[in-house]
């Protein structure tokens, strides 16, 4: 089995928060079904949270209330376990619905670093970070849109072309619409931010793996699919 075959065996969804789970896993499952691949779910336990919890002055505003309480590393560890369990339930339900095989891994680090580490394992990496909003997500917000807006960034590279193909495939499967953003393959992301302002309004962003830096421009407000 060469590297190329291995990369085409799975669609990997990388998440660092269960709140992002439903729409991301839906998209990844649809992609896995269309491509006849397995769904690999990777939950990233954020080391930033652990480091912050270790500081003596750190207090946390819990999701459940409006009061600030002391935060300890043990609290964070407990939260990681809860999120992992929640993702396991979500993955089982969504995978069953789309009739795809699935697996769950838990790693520790950061979302971007983990994505880079998993680059060799799949040419389709879906990254989903916790939404910026702290309020509990509404049902509408946690469901994938009925006709999602799919943004694809093309830098005229080979990976960019594949990204466009995958975006079109997703649009067909989900009944969505594709909006293409052209960028300079060599230019830094910051220099092209004006042309990419519309990314933030998308339901999913498809990027060539060569430009993961562009994902940050969308502020992680929606899942990002990196196509290798």
């Amino acid at each position: 089995v060469n590297r190329s075959d291995t990369a085409r065996r799975q669609v990997i969804a990388v998440l660092d928060d269960a709140a992002a789970g439903t729409p991301a896993l839906e998209l990844a499952s649809v992609l896995a079904r269309e491509r006849r691949r397995e769904l690999g779910v990777v939950y990233v336990e954020s080391t930033r949270s652990l480091v912050a919890a270790a500081l003596p002055m750190t207090r946390v505003l819990t999701h459940a209330g409006s009061t600030w309480v002391d935060l300890r590393p043990a609290d964070v560890e407990q939260g990681f376990r809860a999120h992992a369990e929640r993702l396991r339930e979500l993955a089982a339900r969504v995978a069953l619905q789309h009739a795809v095989q699935w697996s769950l891994r838990v790693v520790r680090g950061s979302l971007t670093a983990t994505a880079a580490e998993l680059e060799a394992e799949s040419d389709l990496l879906l990254l989903a970070a916790a939404p910026p909003s702290a309020a509990p997500a509404t049902r509408a917000a946690t469901r994938p849109p009925h006709r999602p807006a799919i943004a694809v960034v093309s830098d005229r590279s080979e990976a960019g072309e594949r990204a466009a193909e995958v975006a079109a495939e997703l649009a067909r499967a989900l009944g969505g619409q594709v909006q293409t953003f052209r960028v300079d393959a060599a230019g830094p992301a910051s220099a092209q931010s004006a042309g990419l302002a519309g990314l933030a309004r998308s339901d999913v962003i498809v990027l060539p793996r060569t430009r993961p830096d562009l994902a940050a421009l969308a502020g992680w407000r929606c899942p990002v699919l990196l196509v290798g």
Partner: protein, 812 residues
């Protein structure tokens, strides 16, 4: 006044036969036209007038009670009057539907519609819902809706996140990172893009650590404010989404509902309901939208509340103006609310309201059997309540009696406009009149059917036509005129009067059915008089077990009834009894003994509590008669004892008082009485003989016993002359009388009876003589009175002769 002597009746006086020629029967062919009176009843003019009046009377409280004997055509009478009324004036029937009350679902709304309109509304509502199941999802699938929804969501997202982003940016400016941990939001000092480690933080100067802590405190407050603002935005967003959904739904539903309202413009209630439907659809458009699983718009459970429950369909089978409540239970009258089991719970809604007989009869007529109604728990009270309130209010009995405390449906009451006709026995009506004050308020018209009809030519003809018509409608063989005449004779016999016909026509129809069976078995094309006679005989035979056993006991002398010879103080009385629908008669031995005493007649039946009050009254009359006739100037100086021998049950009635008097007189006068005769009749204080009931059965009972022992011409029955017109005796008795083997003596006075039974002249009670019955009695009583006064006896009394019955006749 000169007394009439006993009269020996001639054969022609014993029965009054109907002449078939007077019936003018219709042709018996299959193509004969059915008479108009096939379902009518005969006679009963007074009852007819009362029913016609009651049916026509429109005022409140003029409901009817038709009372009369069973099978006399009470229902037919009511139906005839109602049919005539409906034919002349028509009826105004309405459909009634129950629909959901969207504000208070436990109080469904009743709507009145024209006949046939209920089904139309039901269909139209189903069509409306089907239409909305298509148009509402389509509206939500439209590009306009999607665009507007996207705009609202994006706007909400932007505004909700803006506050948090600003807090995050403020944190950045102060060297802090806002981090979303699995537990919640926190702030941590950062070094570059990474969070500062504890060691690095501890290494910071004290002042810097203080600054960071203060900055964190400030940011925490900002974050709380930002989150609260987000919650407000969320509510605002939800409101905007709701408004968008309502506007989208309204667009889809408005036209459909308005179009339907134009079709029901004449009914403001329906229009109001359609407005409520529109509001409910707009409020809950999700019910019409596809599920998460992508299934079609709407689901039956949520959309059921838009259905129409047609409880009365005046345009369909409920449209008949007469409803007959066969089983008038509370629920069957008032209606009910059914429940269905749903996941272990009993649930209900307006769709499960079921109509009762009152609903179906509303605007028309309700026919109820009074006995059935009164024997159903709470049904009578419920009917009265509905009639008094003039509305049908469906109430669960369990709730009325506090047996359930859960919320029950309270369907809106339906205004009631019905004419109720109760049919039942006379006693039932009298009881209600006596004991139920509300009965008089509600049932102000009472139609009283006679027990029997005058036996005149017109009545006989009408009855014959009715019977022939019924035979035709029931598919019986055509009855010939002799058969009909025989039936009419039977009707007269049942009335106990040759001049009347029993009103129970149904009984005659039953006999006709049985005669039809016999005629068919004999492969006859027509029902003949013999078939009718055989059917009557078979009915009697079926009921005759007791009669047969009693006669057998008499023939074996286990029951002592002498039919030959003579005996002092012993008379054959006659009793009648009923087995089912058949009457029978039997002789019973009455004995009397007398002795010196203080003027009492001891009724042994009464002393042993085996005599009823009417019987006791008869015996007291005898005592009075004796004293008045024989002891006006002497002290009444005898004690007499009377008893019905070998009777072990209650003896009631005064029809044996003549026999008892004869027994007493014979005992006092020491005069033998002929045992080949039996006596029936009551007497008054003057000795006049009065009519009694069951005379035919009594005569037949004694005849059958005598015939079984052998008629020799000595046998007969003494009957009151006033009963002669009621005689409807069997053919064999009439023939025996014609052949002088049996006799009937009609008497008007006790002296007539005494002469027939003793063979002695009655004589004058004032003339103490041994040659007459009254003379002997007067003489004996005078002797008793002398003894009581203490006067010496100057005439030795002859030894008492005991007259015994002839042994070969089974006498005692």
């Amino acid at each position: 006044m000169r007394r009439m002597a006993a009269r020996l009746l001639q054969a022609h006086e014993l029965v009054t036969r109907c002449d078939p020629a007077t019936l003018a029967p219709e042709p018996a062919g299959a193509d004969a036209a059915p008479p108009d009176t096939a379902t009518d009843i005969v006679g009963q003019a007074r009852a007819r007038a009362a029913v016609d009046f009651g049916i026509a009377m429109p005022r409140e409280g003029y409901h009817l009670f038709i009372m009369g004997p069973a099978g006399s055509g009470k229902r037919s009478l009511a139906r005839r009057a109602i049919d005539a009324r409906v034919a002349g004036h028509g009826v105004h029937r309405y459909d009634w539907v129950y629909v959901n009350n969207f504000d208070r679902p436990h109080q469904p709304v009743a709507i009145r519609l024209g006949a046939g309109q209920g089904a139309r509304l039901q269909t139209d509502m189903r069509a409306l819902v089907d239409e909305l199941r298509t148009t509402i999802p389509a509206a939500f699938e439209s590009e306009e809706y999607a665009t507007e929804l996207e705009r609202l969501n994006t706007d909400f997202k932007d505004r909700a996140e803006r506050g948090l982003i600003e807090v995050g940016e403020a944190a950045q400016r102060q060297g802090l990172a806002m981090i979303r941990t699995p537990v919640g939001f926190t702030f941590a000092p950062q070094k570059g893009t990474e969070v500062m480690s504890p060691q690095e933080f501890e290494a910071l100067p004290e002042a810097e650590r203080k600054r960071l802590e203060q900055a964190v405190n400030g940011l925490q407050e900002q974050l709380v404010h930002a989150l609260r603002a987000t919650m407000r935005l969320r509510k605002e967003h939800a409101d905007r989404l709701r408004a968008l959904n309502r506007a989208t739904t309204k667009l889809a539903v408005e036209h459909a509902v308005d179009e339907m309202k134009t079709r029901y413009a004449e009914s403001p209630v329906v229009c109001a309901h359609l407005d409520a439907v529109r509001a409910a659809v707009i409020d809950d458009a999700d019910a019409f939208r596809p599920h998460d699983d992508g299934e079609g718009g709407g689901h039956d459970g949520a959309l059921a509340r838009f259905e129409v429950n047609l409880v009365v369909d005046a345009g369909g089978i409920d449209g008949a103006p007469i409803v007959e409540a066969d089983l008038p239970t509370y629920q069957n009258l008032i209606g009910r609310v059914d429940h269905i089991a749903h996941f272990g719970m009993l649930v209900t809604d307006f769709r499960h309201i079921k109509a009762g007989a009152l609903h179906r009869a509303n605007g028309g007529y309700l026919l109820v059997d009074a006995l059935k109604l009164l024997t159903q728990p709470f049904a009578w009270s419920a009917l009265k309540r509905a009639l008094l309130r003039r509305e049908i209010r469906i109430e669960a009995m369990a709730e009325m009696f506090g047996m359930v405390s859960t919320v029950q449906l309270e369907p809106q009451p339906i205004p009631l406009d019905v004419k109720v006709v109760l049919v039942g026995e006379r006693e039932l009506c009298l009881l209600l009149q006596a004991h139920d004050p509300e009965f008089e308020k509600l049932f102000r018209v009472v139609a009283d059917l006679d027990d029997d009809l005058p036996r005149v030519a017109a009545t006989q003809r009408a009855l014959a036509q009715t019977l022939a018509g019924q035979a035709r409608s029931c598919g019986l063989l055509p009855p010939g005129a002799p058969a009909l005449a025989r039936l009419i004779d039977h009707g007269a016999r049942r009335s106990g009067d040759a001049t009347r016909i029993h009103a129970g026509v149904r009984h005659l129809l039953d006999v006709l059915h049985e005669a039809d069976h016999l005629a068919r078995a004999a492969q006859r094309a027509q029902i003949g008089a013999d078939d009718v006679a055989a059917a009557i005989a078979q009915r009697r035979e079926r009921a005759g077990r007791v009669d047969e056993r009693v006669r057998e006991a008499m023939l074996r002398e286990r029951l002592a009834i002498a039919t030959a010879g003579s005996c002092v103080g012993q008379v054959n009385g006659l009793a009648a009894y009923q087995v089912g629908d058949e009457g029978f008669g039997l002789p019973t031995r009455i004995t009397a003994t007398t002795r010196l005493g203080d003027g009492q007649v001891v009724d042994i039946q009464r002393e042993t509590r085996l005599g009823g009050p009417v019987h006791a009254k008869g015996v007291l009359i005898l005592s009075s008669f004796l004293a008045a006739r024989f002891s006006r100037f002497d002290p009444h100086s005898i004690v007499g004892s009377l008893v019905f021998e070998q009777t072990y049950g209650l003896v009631e009635g005064d029809s044996a008082s003549l026999a008892e008097l004869v027994a007493l007189l014979a005992s006092i006068g020491d005069i033998p009485v002929r045992q080949s005769l039996a006596v029936t009749g009551s007497v008054d204080q003057f000795g006049h003989v009065q009519a009694v009931g069951g005379v035919n059965e009594k005569v037949e009972g004694f005849f059958d016993l005598c015939a079984a022992r052998g008629l020799d011409g000595s046998h007969g029955v003494v009957v009151p002359a006033s009963n002669v017109s009621q005689l409807m005796l069997r053919d064999d008795i009439v023939q025996s009388v014609a052949d002088r083997r049996f006799a009937l003596h009609a008497v008007t006075d006790v002296d007539d009876a005494v002469e027939v039974l003793t063979g002695l002249p009655a004589g004058d009670a004032a003339m103490r003589s041994a040659d007459t019955v009254n003379g002997r009695i007067a003489k004996r009583l005078h002797e008793y009175a002398s003894l009581r006064r203490g006067e010496p006896r100057f005439v030795r009394r002859k030894p008492l002769r005991i007259h015994r019955a002839t042994p070969e006749r089974g006498g005692q």
